[in-house]
């Protein structure tokens, strides 16, 4: 095997697609996650985003519905 066989691209969406997505859908239909630190969140975040710093994410997965589309930033 070669090293690059072990990596796959991440699905990313540009900000404008996410803007459109948030406008179309209702709040409970998706998970919107802010994975930065609380101090950064306080300085500004997307409307309705839930703060789960990336270091805590794994232990807090239960708070989220895995069947809904999830956007992280």
């Amino acid at each position: 095997m070669a090293i690059l066989d072990y990596f796959r691209p991440v699905s990313t969406l540009p900000a404008e697609r996410i803007r459109a997505f948030l406008n179309e859908k209702r709040m409970g239909e998706f998970n919107l996650l802010d994975v930065r630190q609380p101090q950064e969140y306080e300085q500004g975040h997307l409307p309705g985003a839930k703060l789960v710093p990336v270091g805590e994410l794994e232990s807090r997965l239960k708070e989220l519905d895995p069947t809904k589309p999830t956007i992280a930033y």
Binding site: I3, Y6, A15, H45, L57, E58, L61, P69, T70
Partner: protein
């Protein structure tokens, strides 16, 4: 960058449809995003063996070590520099552990060609988590602030944490399992130290 790490964790956690926002909050605010080198999420082809996974981990530890060392020597912020130097030494220790496990699971006394004996890698400069070439990451880091480099390092550590847990799920050998769990725990420790330093610089500015 951290959102890629988050996407990897969510995907491993069984989330069906996961996206990360290109350029993060900066892109949302209409600012030009200064993204790190494009990186992927690790996945393991069904046919990959424990030896291959161990070699992959070894190679990525080595790449991260090189990146940290080089960054440490360039950073003007001495405190951040010495943190990277220390972390580089710890990644070096991880390499030794991985090599020892490689010898144990393949019942070899020595393997001077390691890791090329197991895995192929086109660039001699080394690779980091996400499949990023060390040289490309260093090119990116050249004009970046300590905060930006710390944030990138945060995403590297959380991804290698995730990678080691994925590997643990895939191997059967109890020694290898134990080692991947212990490595994951240590990467988490690195993450917390980087996070502290990141916050310190952020609140100072």
């Amino acid at each position: 960058m951290r959102s890629r790490a988050a996407a990897a964790i969510l995907t491993r956690g069984g989330f069906k449809e996961v996206y990360s926002m290109e350029g993060g909050i900066h892109a949302w605010k209409g600012m030009v995003a200064s993204g790190a080198p494009e990186a992927g999420i690790a996945y393991f082809p069904a046919e990959s063996t424990p030896s291959e996974l161990t070699a992959l981990a070894w190679l990525l530890e080595d790449g991260t070590r090189k990146f940290y060392l080089e960054v440490a020597s360039k950073l003007k912020d001495l405190e951040t520099g010495s943190l990277f130097k220390e972390l580089a030494a710890l990644e070096g220790k991880h390499k030794e552990k991985l090599f020892a496990i490689h010898l144990a699971i393949s019942a070899m006394a020595e393997d001077p060609e390691y890791p090329a004996s197991v895995i192929s890698f086109p660039s001699e400069g080394g690779y980091m988590e996400g499949g990023v070439e060390v040289g490309k990451a260093l090119d990116w880091a050249r004009e970046r602030s300590p905060e930006e480099i710390l944030e990138y390092a945060l995403s590297l550590e959380i991804n290698s944490y995730d990678l080691h847990l994925k590997m643990e799920e895939r191997v059967k050998d109890p020694r290898a399992k134990e080692m991947f769990v212990s490595l994951a725990g240590e990467e988490k420790g690195h993450l917390l130290r980087l996070q502290d330093q990141f916050l310190k610089l952020m609140t100072a500015s």
